[in-house]
């Protein structure tokens, strides 16, 4: 069928014209309203395999922004979030971030990207000079490396090296107590898996020098089957296993290792186990897996943290993730800094944010601090514990000691040439 086009103004273009006319007349009101609001741009991952984490970031941000707006907004200006999908691709994250600032008129950025995208958005922040908080990238170098440092960028995510220090010392104490000398590792074969495993074993061996790594496995990211990895580890007969597999990969691995009764044969340390995304999905969660805390509403064991977890669940009908608390903290810090600066201007907020300590449900002692010299979050709750198959999943978590973390972090920075 061919479409015929009659001359003159069609119904469609009439409608379009009318719409445009209405917009022109309405524009002054919209503009006046906008002068009061402040747009905050947020690139994150809303599609693909880690979409669940991106969605949980958005949820947490919306939860906190609602509170800030109800309390009068950012130095009197209501926050309007502009959230865009980067599909988890670094070049797309950078493009979206640039567009949010240049086209959409966002004055502040919340960068809720994984590490790959965060470094790309960081360059955009460097170029445009826009205020930016990285909320999800845990790669230490993002803030530890002085070459990355810019005055307008901060991080409210946990940091890889902090996790490794706490995990290494926790595992070493158990290794010593139970005489676990022979260790195996099994982690996904990409930058995060390699780096995190290397840092963990570095500190494990430092605190327990008699430990020996007798077997390493590097399955592909998103590999469907781990049977050959499971049997290889069984052959090596280690006394303990470390893994930083995460999400669906971790749950597949547990299901497949379970039927080989692997968890009865060795102590398992899986840093990413204690996150609700994994805990609630695994049907036959073995007892006694050691894990770092990601987000769990029972650690820190405070009414504030439990209330926050419950409020999130009530609103979104699922538990928050590791990315949720990291994003919520960003909004809390931003609001407090704006209050202190009495301005919603990015530069003034950045100045006020340096070294700022706020009350926070995710703090180890009820507070978290944005460290002034490297712009990264410290003092957040960090610890390890063992799993049970039902709520609260990780009943007792041994908290990491921030004094030790600071000492070893300083030493690590020196060894890397960062300080």
């Amino acid at each position: 069928m061919t479409r015929t086009r009659r001359p003159g103004i069609s119904r469609r273009s009439t409608l379009a014209l009318m719409g445009a006319g209405a917009m022109t007349f309405a524009a002054p009101w919209v503009a006046r309203a906008q002068a009061k609001t402040i747009k905050v741009g947020m690139p994150t991952i809303l599609s693909g395999r880690v979409a669940q984490l991106g969605t949980s970031s958005r949820n947490a941000v919306m939860l906190e922004v609602e509170k800030v707006n109800a309390a009068g907004g950012l130095a009197g200006r209501q926050i309007e979030m502009v959230i865009r999908d980067s599909k988890g691709q670094p070049q797309e994250a950078a493009r979206v971030a640039r567009e949010l600032v240049n086209t959409d008129g966002c004055e502040l950025l919340i960068d809720a990207e994984a590490s790959s995208g965060a470094f790309a958005v960081h360059e955009v922040a460097r170029d445009l000079g826009v205020f930016c908080i990285h909320t999800n990238s845990e790669t230490s170098a993002l803030t530890a490396d002085p070459k990355q440092h810019i005055p307008n960028a901060f991080r409210t995510a946990r940091q890889g090296v902090h996790d490794s220090i706490v995990g290494g010392s926790y595992a070493a104490a158990i290794a010593k107590a139970k005489g676990l000398k022979k260790w195996a590792t099994c982690s996904p074969d990409y930058a995060y898996g390699r780096d995190t495993t290397a840092e963990f074993t570095l500190y494990l061996k430092r605190f327990a020098p008699e430990v020996e790594i007798i077997s390493e496995s590097w399955p592909k990211l998103f590999q469907p089957d781990y049977t050959e990895v499971v049997t290889k580890i069984l052959q090596a007969k280690p006394q303990a296993l470390y893994s930083c597999l995460w999400g669906g990969d971790l749950t597949s691995y547990i299901d497949q290792a379970n039927i080989y009764a692997m968890f009865g044969q060795m102590e398992v340390f899986a840093v990413n186990m204690a996150d609700y995304t994994a805990l609630t999905v695994v049907k036959n969660l073995p007892k006694g897996i050691h894990s770092g805390n990601r987000y769990i509403k029972t650690f820190p064991t405070t009414p504030e943290n439990a209330a926050w977890g419950d409020a999130y669940k009530a609103k979104f009908n699922e538990y928050p993730t590791n990315w949720s608390w990291e994003n919520a903290t960003a909004i809390m810090l931003m609001a407090e800094a704006a209050k202190k600066a009495n301005s919603a201007d990015g530069k003034k907020i950045a100045e006020a944010l340096k070294g700022l300590t706020i009350k926070c449900p995710f703090g180890a002692d009820g507070t978290v601090t944005m460290r002034g010299d490297d712009h990264t979050l410290v003092g957040y709750a960090i610890g390890w514990g063992t799993t049970i198959p039902q709520e609260p999943y990780v009943p007792e978590i041994k908290a990491g000691d921030w004094k030790t973390i600071f000492e070893l972090e300083a030493e690590w920075k020196k060894s890397k040439g960062y300080a």
């Binding site: 395999r49 390493e216 089957d225 050959e228 052959q235 597949s252 299901d255 999905v281 036959n284």
Partner: protein
């Protein structure tokens, strides 16, 4: 490279048993997917790039049926029957329109459905990963055979796949329907002229291929996490299997899948950083020495 570990394993019966069964499990699941692929190609002469989606649907159907009924047998049945029906509809409504069309056209239709099926799963079951969980009947201690570890669930899995292989092999070579199917593969025009409904045969073969992939997905559901797009990596390995075994050959798919499984299980000991590479290397060697695959027929 860790040849000592490999040699050590080959000389120990415990390790041999464990690694061989682990290779068989990987191989048998792969066989179920690959045999459907090779069957559809053999009869319909189309390369079904959307085959991985049937594996995915099989797993999701099984999970849903298991959650609703709590019965493992019904879950397997739902996985297999659901994908058979889906395969029949898919073939009759869409694929039957592109037979004889440009390969590129067939590829486009299949690829479009890879994306559509992934999104359908996302809409129905959500984007996050799921786990079906192991039925309690199989939550038992693994068996120890000559010191090696063999999980009972995997014995069942190997058994079901073996039965499927035998039934398929005998059915196609001995039964009347099998003969008609083979005839339709050779000369559809003549078969049609003899008064046999080739459309029905094509639909049936597609349904059978989809059902086998769905069964593989259902069997894998208790041990693998379920996500939209989970069929993709399985599809790639299935292609390697069919290329090694020879496109269109059922025996080839079986041998190819088992070889690939064993390469993975023993390769991970001897060449931990090159296990994936070994599979492709093996494929290259087969292709260079016998371009039609191990059991492929030379083009006339």
């Amino acid at each position: 490279m860790d040849l000592d570990a490999l040699a050590g394993c080959l000389s120990s019966s415990a390790c041999l048993v464990t690694q061989t069964t682990s290779g068989l499990i990987i191989g048998m699941l792969l066989f179920l997917v690959a045999v459907g692929l090779t069957l559809i190609f053999g009869v319909l002469k189309v390369v079904n790039f959307s085959h991985g989606a049937f594996y995915m649907f099989g797993a999701y159907f099984a999970m849903t049926a298991y959650q609703l009924t709590g019965s493992f047998a019904l879950a397997m049945l739902a996985g297999a029957a659901g994908t058979a029906i889906l395969g029949l509809i898919f073939e009759r409504v869409f694929m039957s329109r592109v037979y004889g069309a440009d390969v590129l056209m067939q590829l486009l239709v299949c690829y479009a459905f890879v994306l559509i099926f992934d999104d359908v799963v996302r809409i129905i079951w959500g984007p996050e990963f799921k786990s079906m969980g192991m039925p309690s009947a199989f939550q038992v201690m693994p068996l120890f055979v000559a010191g090696g570890v063999v999980p009972p669930y995997y014995l069942l899995l190997i058994g079901i796949a073996l039965v499927a292989a035998i039934v398929l092999g005998i059915g196609l070579s001995r039964s009347r329907i099998g003969k008609v199917i083979r005839a339709a593969a050779h000369n559809p025009g003549m078969v049609s002229a003899l008064g046999i409904n080739t459309g029905l045969i094509y639909g049936g073969v597609f349904a059978l291929g989809g059902m086998l992939a769905g069964l593989a997905g259902a069997l894998a559901a208790p041990v693998r996490s379920l996500t939209p797009g989970m069929g993709f990596s399985v599809l790639i390995e299935s292609f390697i299997v069919t290329v090694i075994g020879g496109m269109g050959s059922i025996l080839g798919a079986l041998i190819g899948a088992l070889l690939l499984g064993l390469i993975r299980s023993f390769g991970s000991l001897g060449f931990p950083l090159f296990t994936e590479g070994l599979m492709y290397l093996f494929m290259v060697i087969v292709l260079v020495s016998k371009p039609t695959g191990l059991f492929g027929k030379e083009a006339a």
